[in-house]
């Protein structure tokens, strides 16, 4: 049975400590699916599917990011959840109840828009009061909530300003505050940091994470920035052309991509193309001929001997001139180019039929003294070489 739990947050401003309490969304019904998509499809023109047969379950209190290039359908998914778009097929459940006939205003979902969508003719205070006024909340409680949420986003004393008088980062905080002030249990964010510059974005990523952990609300976050997704999310769903290619925790996506799209979209990866010569070790390892070199790769995609596969190898897992016999995969390569990046050295190499194979070496003892044209040996383990679907 759900019990009304609250959480306390202490903040300090000007030597004064505030004790704010928020309803604890996690405490209500943890481990249950807060949001569920069941076979949801969306088409705007009746022919091309923007979202195809989407199944996705989001737990209460989870921070899930929909990550994908533009046109991958991530914003459409968010708009269907918010109630601004209706699914063409399938159903969406909120706390176990279908919401297809619930208009956006009755869903009680907080939403942060890409360009903030603050009301320019209202002060910050009036913006924050708006969702409370339409809920007919009393003046006293309204004032209290606004103060509390302004403290949460660290904008005390800004209530009388107009949005146009605020910086981009401050406007963003107001937008987040407005999405939270009516205490929704689910908050949607549609590329909220897209308009900010790099350093402000880093700061806001931290802020959003802090607020998420503080309030423990469920957050569905949309972005095309993989680093942003990695920093903030509990789980990331990588989307391409309306389909979730992989959904996993950030480490899982990076370490164990299940398709070459995810491998190249999350972080950097070398992709080698080759043909399977044989399998070994109870079918867990493929022997792959790639540009004349024989490479042993971990079986990820199920394939037969003779199939084409794509091998994904992270640049930092490649060792240059390793001790002989240390790695199962050792190939010959020629140094094409060297780039010094401060904390690391990027070496571009020609090997396995490619001329853009990259290895990165941490700058711990300086670089190895190679120059363009040197012949070197490269080594990597079977586990770091994943055989994925050939595309």
């Amino acid at each position: 049975m759900a019990t009304a739990k609250t959480i306390e947050i202490l903040t300090e401003t000007g030597g004064k400590i505030h004790r704010d309490t928020f309803s604890d969304a996690v405490g209500k019904n943890n481990n249950n699916a807060h949001v569920e998509f069941r076979g949801v499809s969306k088409s705007y023109d009746g022919r091309t599917m923007v979202v195809k047969d989407l199944d996705l379950s989001i737990r209460t209190g989870e921070f899930v990011t929909l990550l994908g290039p533009s046109g991958s359908g991530k914003t459409t998914i968010l708009m269907m959840l918010a109630g601004f778009q209706a699914p063409t097929a399938g159903e969406i459940l909120l706390d176990g109840r279908p919401i297809h006939d619930l208009p956006a205003r009755k869903r009680g979902i907080g939403m942060v828009f890409q360009n903030y969508a603050l009301f320019p003719h209202m002060t910050v205070g009036a913006n924050l009061a708006f969702p409370l006024e339409v809920r007919r909340m009393g003046v006293e409680e309204r004032r209290e909530r606004i103060e509390r949420v302004l403290r949460l986003v660290r904008l005390e004393g800004f209530a009388d300003r107009r949005p146009s008088q605020l910086s981009g980062g401050q406007q963003q905080r107001v937008a987040i505050a407005r999405a939270l002030v009516f205490e929704p249990t689910l908050v949607l964010m549609d590329e909220p940091l897209g308009a900010l510059d790099r350093s402000l974005r880093d700061e806001m990523q931290y802020e959003i994470r802090r607020i998420h952990r503080t309030l423990a609300v469920t957050v569905v976050y949309v972005t095309h920035d993989q680093q942003e997704a990695m920093v903030m999310s509990d789980r990331i769903a990588v989307l391409r052309e309306g389909v979730i290619e992989q959904i996993a925790v950030p480490e899982g996506l990076y370490e164990e991509p299940t398709c070459s799209f995810v491998a190249s979209f999350i972080g950097e990866s070398n992709q080698l193309h080759g043909r399977i010569l044989g399998t070994s070790e109870e079918d867990n390892v493929y022997e792959v001929d790639t540009g004349g070199e024989i490479v042993h790769a971990l079986k990820v995609a199920p394939c037969k001997v003779g199939d084409n596969v794509t091998l994904s190898i992270r640049p930092e897992r490649v060792k240059i001139n390793p001790e002989a016999g240390r790695y199962r995969n050792e190939v010959n390569a020629t140094v094409e180019d060297l780039t010094f990046l401060g904390n690391q050295l990027r070496v571009r190499l020609a090997t396995c039929g490619r001329e853009d194979f990259v290895a990165t070496i941490p700058n711990i003892v300086g670089h190895g003294g190679w120059v363009t044209g040197d012949s070197v040996r490269l080594g990597w383990t079977t586990v770091d070489c994943r055989a994925l679907n050939h595309e």
């Binding site: 109630g83 601004f84 956006a104 869903r107 939403m111 969508a117 003719h121 969702p131 339409v134």
Partner: protein, 405 residues
Amino acid sequence: MAGPLKLSGGPGYRARLRALGLVAPLLIFIVVTFVAPLGTMLLRSVYDPVVADILPETLELLEDWDGRELPPEAVYAAAAKEIERAGTERTLGQVASRINRVQGGLRSVITRTGRELRDIEQGPWRESMTAIDSIWADPATWYAVQATGERFTARHYWNALDLQRLSDGSVARQPEERRIYLRLFGRTLMISGLITLLCLILGYPIAHLIACSTPSRSNLLLILVLVPFWTSLLVRTTAWIVLLQTQGVVNEFLVTVGLISNDGRLAMIYNMTGTIVAMTHVLLPFMVLPLYSVMRGIPKTQMNAAASLGATPRQAFLRVYWPQSLPGVGAGALLVFILAIGYYITPALVGGSDGQLISNMIAYHMQTSLNWGLAAALGGVLLLVVLVLYAVYERLLGVERIGLG
């Protein structure tokens, strides 16, 4: 001597000169076609030298007159001389028509006096003139002469506001049957306000639709809104006559359907209804365009944001969309209203008698009664109304816009 303060020479000076050269055609055009006529008109409404130039001696002598009794013989003598001279120089008509506007019925008397004075060689002039017409023995006649003799005068403005200056110098309202202009101003403002309101009610949804459509569709809709601009005003007005006249399309349809009887055909044109319908149609684009340009600047996410925050469509419109569209509403309403209060051709064509606006009266005084001073004064009052409205708009929406940054 060198420096930024140097007035001639140097590249900056030449650039300024070139810039001035580029705007000069427009500047000259505006001065010649706008500032000069406007200035002339305003001057004409307060300055009328005709009578003062033709009857100088009479007017000089009248300055000592107390205004109650008849003026002395010297005034009659001077007047007789000057009226006779004006008669032979054919300028007496101008004097007569001006005096006639102050005191009705004097025009023919004055011209007749001019003719008959030629046969009279000598005085006493008072008896001679009184013999020509007894009206010369009425102090009011001399007051009228004196009043029209002022070079600078406010009497056109008193007239335009249905006021008159009495012979004792006080200002009073015109007699009931001569009060026309205030009522006409009132009707003009009322009709213009109604047209503005109709344009707003009709134009707001269209502007919203255009602002929310895809670019190709909004282009098409904009063209449809602008089509009236591309057809001649006469064609448009004639179309309304075809539609609304007694034997017109609308009446025929209503009779056929049986909503009205053949004898009960509606009078929808050549009256106020005709003026309102046709002018609303003509002025609608002036409401739609400013509304559209403001609405296009309101992001679509604003309404979504309001909905996500729990607002009903009504609340979202009233509290989020409407306030942000207000600058467009203000600009459109101001434009339509100002155009409407000075509109001439449509009411002239379809207005009948009760659909006439103040500008039709101005045209009447320009073309028919030839009382240019009064026409200019009516125009001046109209100009003042427009300026006041503009100031109000600045006050209400200019301030608001500053607030929005």
